[in-house]
C-alpha cells in the first residue's frame, strides 16, 4: 500500500514539473519586447553604432535559439534547466546559478533564525492558551495575536526603524546591511555577533505574523485533541495537566504541523522581498526584486523555476512523511492532491 502510494505521488511530479516550467516559459512570452533586443540594450553604452546593435541582436537570437519555433525553444530551454544551466544575468553577465548561490545562504540563515524564534515562542504560548480555552488570559492573548497577525510587515519594519535604528529616538540597531563597515577586521566571534546584531530587527519583523499564526494553530489543534477520550483517560490515571499535554496531546496535535512546515518552505527559500528590501539584506528576496526591477529575465526565470521545483519536492516529501505518520491517508487518500 505504502509503496503504491509513494510511486503514484512520484509519477505525478513529472506533469507538475512540466507545468511549472511551461508556465514560467509562458510568462517570458508575456514580456514586452524581444529578449535579444533587451540584451542588446544592456550593451547600449558600448555600442553606439546601430549596425553593431543589429549584429548583437542576431547573435543573441542564434545563441538562445530565438529564431526557432516556440515549442522547440521550450524544449531547448528545458534541456538546459535540467542541467542547472539558467544562463547569464543580463546585468552583470555572471551565471544565474552563481548569483543564487551567493544569496541563498543569507536568506537561509535569516529564515532559520526566524523559524527558531517562531517555534520557541509560538509553541509554549499556544499550549498555555489551550490549557484553559476561553479563559480571560486566552481571550486577551487571542486579541493581541490577532492584531499582530494583521500588522502590515513593511509598516511594522518602518516603525521599528524609526524607534530603534534612527537618530531621533533610540539608536540601538544598525539600519542596513548584514555587516558593519570594517567587520572583516573583527575576530570570528565578533563577526558573528555583528551579523546577529544586524539581523535582530529583520527577524522580529519576519516572525511577528508567523508567531501569531502558529500559536493560534497550535492552540486550535490542541483544544481539539484535548476533547478526546484518551486524554480523559490520561487525566483519570492521575497525570498532571502538563504531563497530559506533553506526553499525550502534543503528539496527536502536531500531525497537521507536517503540512504546515511544508508550506513554510517557500518563505525559507525565496526570502521576504519586502523585509530584505527595507533592511538591505543581500538575500534571495532582494535578488529577486532587483532582477524584476531590471527586467533581468534569466535571473527571474532561474529563481522562479528553482524555488518552484524545490517547493514541489518539499510537497512530495511532506506527503510521504504524512503518509507514514497517518495510516488513514494511505487507505483513503483523502487529500488526493
Amino acid at each position: 500500500m505504502m509503496k503504491q502510494y509513494v510511486l503514484k505521488r512520484f509519477f505525478l511530479l513529472l506533469p507538475t514539473f512540466l507545468g511549472i516550467t511551461g508556465l514560467t516559459f509562458f510568462m517570458l512570452q508575456l514580456a514586452p519586447g524581444d529578449p535579444a533586443a533587451l540584451k542588446a540594450q544592456s550593451f547600449t553604452e558600448l555600442l553606439a553604432d546601430p549596425q553593431q546593435t543589429e549584429a548583437v541582436v542576431t547573435e543573441t537570437q542564434k545563441l538562445y535559439g530565438l529564431e526557432k519555433p516556440l515549442s522547440l525553444q521550450y524544449l531547448l530551454w528545458l534541456k538546459r534547466i535540467v542541467l542547472f544551466d539558467f544562463g547569464e544575468s543580463y546585468r552583470d553577465h555572471r551565471p544565474v546559478m552563481a548569483k543564487i548561490a551567493e544569496a541563498l545562504p543569507i536568506t537561509l540563515l535569516l529564515n532559520a533564525l526566524t523559524l527558531l524564534v517562531i517555534f520557541v515562542i509560538a509553541f509554549p504560548l499556544g499550549a498555555y492558551n489551550a490549557l484553559k480555552p476561553n479563559s480571560f488570559h486566552d481571550r486577551v492573548s487571542a486579541l493581541f495575536l490577532f492584531l499582530l497577525y494583521s500588522l502590515p510587515s513593511f509598516w511594522f519594519a518602518l516603525l521599528l526603524i524609526v524607534l530603534f535604528a534612527g537618530g531621533d529616538y533610540l539608536n540601538l540597531f544598525p539600519l542596513i546591511g548584514i555587516f558593519s563597515d570594517g567587520a572583516e577586521r573583527l575576530p570570528w566571534y565578533g563577526r558573528i555577533g555583528n551579523l546577529l546584531w544586524h539581523l535582530i530587527l529583520p527577524v522580529i519583523v519576519l516572525s511577528v505574523a508567523n508567531i501569531a499564526f502558529l500559536s493560534r494553530f497550535v492552540r486550535a489543534s490542541l483544544v481539539e485533541v484535548m476533547k478526546k477520550e484518551y486524554i480523559r483517560t490520561a487525566y483519570a490515571k492521575g497525570l498532571s495537566p502538563f504531563q497530559v499535554m506533553v506526553k499525550h496531546a502534543f503528539k496527536n496535535a502536531l500531525l497537521p504541523l507536517v503540512t504546515l512546515f511544508g508550506s513554510l518552505l517557500p518563505a525559507l527559500l525565496s526570502g521576504s522581498v519586502i523585509v530584505e528590501q527595507i533592511f538591505s539584506i543581500p538575500g534571495m528576496g532582494r535578488l529577486s526584486f532587483e532582477s524584476v526591477l531590471a527586467r533581468d529575465y534569466p535571473v527571474i526565470m532561474g529563481i522562479t523555476v528553482m524555488t518552484a521545483t524545490l517547493m514541489l519536492i518539499s510537497y512530495f516529501v511532506t506527503d510521504i512523511v504524512y503518509g507514514f505518520l497517518d495510516p488513514r491517508l494511505r487507505l483513503h487518500e483523502r487529500r488526493g492532491l
Binding site: 505525478l12 506533469p15 507538475t16 507545468g19 511549472i20 508556465l23 510568462m27 517570458l28 508575456l30 514580456a31 514586452p32 490577532f146 492584531l147 497577525y149 494583521s150 500588522l151 502590515p152 510587515s153 513593511f154 509598516w155 518602518l158 516603525l159 526603524i161 524609526v162 534612527g166 537618530g167 531621533d168 517557500p266 518563505a267 527559500l269 525565496s270 521576504s272 522581498v273 519586502i274 528590501q277 528576496g285 529577486s288 526584486f289 524584476v292 526591477l293 527586467r295 527571474i300 529563481i303 522562479t304 524555488t307 518552484a308 521545483t309 517547493m311 514541489l312 510537497y315 488526493g336 492532491l337
Partner: protein
C-alpha cells in the same frame, strides 16, 4: 463581529462618498465637503505641516492634505481587495467545483494545476508577472486574483467531493437536474460559510498585497495614490514627518484587521 462590520461599513461609505467628503469644490451650495481639499491639490504654503486644525492629519512634501489622500485611497484599497477576491472566487469555485464533482480525469488535471500554482512563491510570482504586463490598477487586481485562487479551489474540491455522495444530490439528479444546476443550486449553497471565511481572509491578504506592491513601487499610478504608495512616498520623510507613514499604515492595519476579524467570527460561529 459587530466592530468589524461597523468599521467595514464606514470604510465602504467613505469610499463611495469620497468626492463629497474631501474635495476643493462642492457639488451644491448645501453640501460643502467637510474636508475642503482635493487629494491632488497642492499648497506651497503648507509643506510638511504637522497635524493641525486645518489639516487634521498634516500635509505631505508638496502640500497635499493627508486626510483627503487617505479618504480617496480607501476607494483603491477596497476595490483591489473586492475585485481580486471576486476573480479568485470565480476561478476557485469553477475549477474546484468541476474537480470535486466530476472527479476522474478532470480532477487529475485540475489538481495538477492547483499544485503547479501552489509551488510558485506567491509574492515574487506576482511581482514578476506585474513586471511583464506592466503595473496598473486593473493588472494588479487580475494578477492578485489570478494567483490566489488555489486555496479556494482546494476547499471547494474537497467539500464537493464529500457532498456529492449525499442523498440530496442523488435526489436532485434523479429528478432530472443537470450537472450545472446541481453544482450551483444544490452544492454551492452548502459551502457558503467556509467560502465567506476564506474570502474575508483573502480580501485582507489582497489589500495587504496591494499595499506591499505599491510600497515597492509596483502599484497604481501616482495620480491616484493608494495607501501603500502614500506610505512609500512618506518613507523618505520618516524622520521629519512621522504622520506621513503613521496615517496610511494605520489605515491599512485597521482595514486588514477588520476583514480578518470578520473571517474569524464567521469561522467560530
Amino acid at each position: 463581529m459587530k466592530v468589524s462590520v461597523i468599521i467595514l461599513l464606514l470604510m465602504t461609505l467613505t469610499a463611495l462618498a469620497a468626492p463629497f467628503l474631501a474635495n476643493d469644490r462642492s457639488f451644491s451650495s448645501l453640501l460643502s465637503p467637510p474636508i475642503p481639499y482635493h487629494p491632488n491639490s497642492t499648497d506651497s504654503d503648507a509643506i510638511l505641516t504637522p497635524p493641525n486644525r486645518s489639516h487634521l492629519l498634516g500635509t505631505d512634501d508638496i502640500g497635499r492634505d493627508v486626510l483627503a489622500q487617505l479618504i480617496w485611497g480607501t476607494r483603491i484599497s477596497l476595490s483591489v481587495g473586492l475585485v481580486a477576491m471576486s476573480i479568485a472566487l470565480t476561478l476557485g469555485i469553477f475549477l474546484g467545483g468541476i474537480a470535486g464533482y466530476f472527479g476522474g480525469i478532470w480532477d487529475l488535471l485540475i489538481s495538477r494545476l492547483i499544485e503547479i500554482f501552489s509551488c510558485f512563491p506567491t509574492f515574487f510570482f506576482i511581482l514578476a508577472l506585474l513586471s511583464f504586463v506592466g503595473p496598473s490598477l486593473l493588472n494588479l487586481m487580475i494578477v492578485i486574483g489570478g494567483t490566489s485562487w488555489p486555496g479556494i479551489a482546494r476547499l471547494v474540491r474537497a467539500e464537493f467531493f464529500r457532498l456529492r455522495e449525499e442523498e440530496f444530490v442523488k435526489a436532485a439528479s434523479a429528478l432530472g437536474a443537470g450537472s450545472f444546476r446541481i453544482l450551483f443550486r444544490h452544492l454551492l449553497p452548502n459551502i457558503v460559510r467556509p467560502l465567506v471565511v476564506i474570502a474575508s481572509f483573502g480580501i485582507a491578504a489582497a489589500i495587504l498585497g496591494e499595499a506591499s506592491l505599491s510600497f515597492l513601487g509596483f502599484g497604481v499610478r501616482p495620480e491616484d495614490p493608494s495607501w501603500g504608495s502614500l506610505l512609500a512616498s512618506g518613507e523618505a520623510y520618516w524622520d521629519v514627518a512621522w504622520w506621513l507613514t503613521l496615517a496610511p499604515g494605520s489605515a491599512i492595519f485597521l482595514t486588514v484587521t477588520a476583514f480578518n476579524l470578520l473571517g474569524e467570527s464567521f469561522r467560530n460561529r
